[in-house]
């Protein structure tokens, strides 16, 4: 594809021409991130990237990396971020935050001056109403300290759910205060479960009563988002509480994130219907949205931290003498290069995916991004985990020395990771995909083993030699042909495998966690491949700096991911349609739980 006109115009042209009128319904409201089912039988690939890829359907629009249509917007946000970066570097003092257990007055002032608390709030409520690309860029900067990030993050996600579910009164009451940073929000969503408050109804009023409710929020919170046992979400402002009400907060001793309030709340409050956010009994959905709405910015923060880590690591390795060779540095060791390769590729893939997704949402076309959003959160977690291990490997003792910054970073990351979890997501993502798959493709369950066996040869051939049908490479730079082919193989394979699973298991697949997890891994790989290919293609075509490296990285990443995909899917296929390869992943864990631990005898034990 030769582009003589700038890409932005080109993109507008192609998107406009290919999208049908029904597809370009502009959505003014905030995107919703809670994973849901998409039961449309046609044009799934136009509405959801991951679902389309799993169905082996391809929409060329998804190969165009979204970007700002106006260069001035890019300059604006870059300028904004530069000011933010400079002012944060002047005021931020990690040691002081840790010691005081709160953000210092100067940091808060900086955040307020840069309007950080209002970035996600609509203009009519005194916010900046920035788009998702802007938000991602800003949160990359805010991640200079995890405490600064998480305080801003809480504010963002709480204002997000109020924007989506709040009534007009609730919006005009709370959003301006949140934008000014006067309301310090906290919410009751913990990693393990959704803790709820006891409810007592009397005379149109509701009494919320709870002790030891786990909450996370800005330091010294005065605005709470809690959930009742009737599955409603309540907004409680401390200033509005009556004389009989009480709020007592106790902070937990956490490993990191000392500047964020993580702790337990005792609450007794008399509330009425005006305190309910959304419809009564919509609590679960609000909670899912609360978590979902913060994932892109969390991933963006991860990118920011990872970029800084890689910069510091290269300075460290370049200046540290090698442990084995005289007159060479740690950076010359093949091992260091190998370790950093993994991390760098992860960061590159995550960055591509985050801005890809942010951009897709910003385009305003009705694309469903729930699955991708959840996948990105998983990727961010993986990146953070491997970042810690890389630091332990390369920085050595300095990684755990409190005179160096690494140690605090590691503590903060582990705390952040433990606050939220994605444990439910794997099944949700997989089933949301498979259910769409089942309604969008005609398939019948084959009960006869003989028939399955006869069909098997064709399927296993398709797995080995998937062949090309979409010719995705036509939509990317020629240098990425290999990467595009890998993506296409991966698409065909996942379709074959789902079809196989569905014919053999039908709805029983929902019991098979091993298969679902493998599917999710494959979908993750597919998302990364699409976003890196389209990004590298764009970068090279317009000649961004170091775009030659991007091409190389994308190629290696795609070939790796494609191989990993094949491996995952191969486990799911079965021999001659009879013997399952799918290893008994779960049985081992089940045994551990049943036997209350590792019950295998020590190998030196004797029996006679």
């Amino acid at each position: 594809m030769i582009r003589l006109v700038p890409r932005s115009i080109h993109r507008l042209a192609t998107r406009a021409s290919s999208a049908k009128p029904a597809d370009v319904t502009k959505t003014d409201e905030k995107p919703k991130f809670a994973i849901r089912s998409l039961e449309t039988s046609e044009n799934v690939e136009k509405r959801s990237l991951s679902r389309g890829l799993a169905l082996n359907r391809f929409e060329k629009d998804f190969m165009i990396y979204p970007e700002y249509s106006d260069s001035d917007d890019v300059k604006n946000i870059e300028g904004f971020c530069e000011v933010l970066r400079n002012s944060l570097s002047l005021t931020e003092d990690a040691k002081k935050i840790e010691k005081d257990g709160e953000l210092s007055a100067e940091v808060l002032e900086t955040l307020r001056n840069n309007a950080i608390f209002s970035v996600g709030i609509g203009k009519e409520f005194g916010g900046l109403a920035l788009n998702n690309k802007d938000l991602s860029k800003i949160f990359e900067e805010l991640s200079v300290d995890w405490n600064i990030f998480s305080n801003s993050h809480v504010n963002l996600i709480v204002s997000n759910i109020i924007t989506i579910y709040g009534t007009q009164e609730q919006k005009s009451k709370y959003l301006p205060l949140l934008a000014q940073g006067q309301l310090r929000a906290a919410f009751a969503v913990s990693a393990t479960s959704l803790d709820t408050c006891q409810i007592t109804q009397s005379a149109g009023k509701t009494l919320l009563n709870v002790e030891n409710l786990r909450i996370v929020g800005r330091h010294n919170p005065n605005f709470f988002v809690v959930f009742g046992e009737n599955n409603s979400c309540y907004l409680i402002e401390e200033a509005e509480l009556g004389t009989g009400d009480k709020v007592v907060f106790r902070r937990d001793e956490t490993l990191g994130l000392k500047g964020l309030d993580v702790g337990k709340l005792d609450l007794t409050a008399l509330v009425d219907d005006s305190n309910i956010l959304g419809n009564p009994s919509q609590g679960q959905e609000v909670a899912a949205e609360l978590i979902g709405g913060g994932r892109l910015s969390f991933a963006a923060a991860t990118i920011g931290v990872a970029k800084r880590t890689l910069r510091d690591l290269s300075a460290w390795c370049n200046r540290t003498p090698s442990r084995k060779t005289t007159r060479s540095s740690l950076a010359d060791d093949s091992r260091s290069q190998r370790i950093v390769t993994d991390l760098a590729l992860k960061v590159y893939a995550l960055e591509s995916a985050v801005y890809y997704l942010s951009g897709m949402i910003d385009e305003g076309i009705s694309v469903v991004v729930d699955i991708e959003n959840a996948l990105i959160s998983m990727l961010a977690r993986e990146t953070l985990q491997s970042m810690i291990s890389v630091q332990l490997e390369l920085n050595g003792l300095a990684a755990i020395d409190s005179n160096f910054p690494y140690e605090k970073n590691i503590r903060d990351i582990t705390t952040v990771l433990s606050l939220f979890d994605d444990s439910n997501d794997v099944e949700q993502i997989a089933l949301a995909t498979i259910s769409t798959w089942a309604t969008s493709s005609s398939h019948k369950r084959i009960v006869s083993t003989l028939k399955r066996w006869l069909k098997n040869e064709k399927e296993s051939d398709e797995m080995r030699n998937p062949g090309l049908t979409h010719y995705i490479a036509e939509h990317a730079h020629p240098s990425l042909q290999a990467a595009c082919q890998e993506l296409e193989y991966s698409m065909t394979r996942i379709n074959t495998v789902i079809s196989k699973l569905m014919t053999s298991q039908g709805k029983n697949i929902e019991q098979d966690y091993g298969s679902l997890e493998a599917l999710v891994n494959v979908m993750k790989n597919n998302l990364l491949m699409v976003s890196t290919i389209s990004r590298a293609s764009r970068s090279y075509s317009i000649g961004l700096r170091n775009s030659d490296i991007e091409l190389a990285w994308t190629t290696i990443l795609c070939s790796r991911l494609s191989r990993a995909t094949w491996f995952e899917l191969d486990q799911l296929s079965d021999l001659f349609g009879l013997v399952k390869f799918n290893p008994s992943l779960l049985n081992v864990g089940r045994a551990i739980f049943d036997l209350n631990g590792y019950a295998i005898e020590s190998p030196i034990e004797k029996n006679w």
């Binding site: 003589l4 700038p6 370049n318 200046r319 060779t325 007159r327 060479s328 317009i542």
Partner: protein, 337 residues
Amino acid sequence: MISNFVRSFSRSLTTRNELVHVQKHFEGVEPEKRDRESFLAAVAQFKEKRGRTHVEFINTALKYMKDYGVHKDLETYKTLLDIFPKGKMIPQTAFQKIFLHYPMQQNCCVKVLDEMEWHGVQPDKEIHDIVVNAFGEWNFATKKVKRMLYWMPKLKHSNKYLDRRHVEGKSLSPSELAGIALKMMSRDPAAAISLLKLPEDAWMVTSQSLSQQKLIEDLKTGDEIFVDRSTVYVQDNKIDYIILSGPPKLPPLEEFKKEEMDENYENWFEDWKKRRTEARRSIHEQDFEIIYALGALYKNDNTTAFRWIENLQKTNKNLETLRIRLRLDGNSKFNAI
């Protein structure tokens, strides 16, 4: 402001409705007043008159661009191309499309674009639109601007050693420029670039890496090393820098390496262990010299270079024992210290 200037300018040049020779627009301005504003004023004045001698005017303007210091200014090129009338020269019939329609004008337009390209001015969407509005979507001149828009951004960052965004459109002090130049030249990623500010706006920049310090440590008492000056360009900025270098110790690298298969597998592991601890040839050990440090000075003479060496001695103790020859002052004899 510009319109005021135009008025006064036109008054000074001509009386009302008098013909002005195109050359006069630019020649008439005194050399010291030749700047962007007066250039734009001249163009504005021409446009106000709606003169029909576009080609002549633009050709003349091109000649004077450098004089007025606007040869790198995208906006000026836009204004210049904006002189062409809109719509009139867009080919309508098949014949007009096949043959060069308004050849003089198109050639003139291509000439302006060539000038732009020559001076490395990056085109943008607007300049494309200006040309399209004058000559149509697929005319010769338009193809030129489309090709520029395709290729120039692609090749914009072909110099991977220098991020031109750090230089372009910024007013950098000489020391900052020197820092950028040293960073561009220091291929060792471990190189630390340090700026030493001295009283009265004097400054010295040094680029040295740990392995270079190690190489200096390895020198023996009385070894001879040199300080020379050289020049490098960062975009349009000419920058003088100095090199601290000495004679090579290792034989030059062979251009072609003969592959040898060592089939003797005895003591392989021990050999390998010994070999891997051996020092590797660093990037600073070039075929004909070893480079110990790079620097840039506010003044390139031996006295300043001496101060630079003195400063360098703080981190490189071994320098005291070496014979350092400063060769900055033109043809002066080698000054040993």
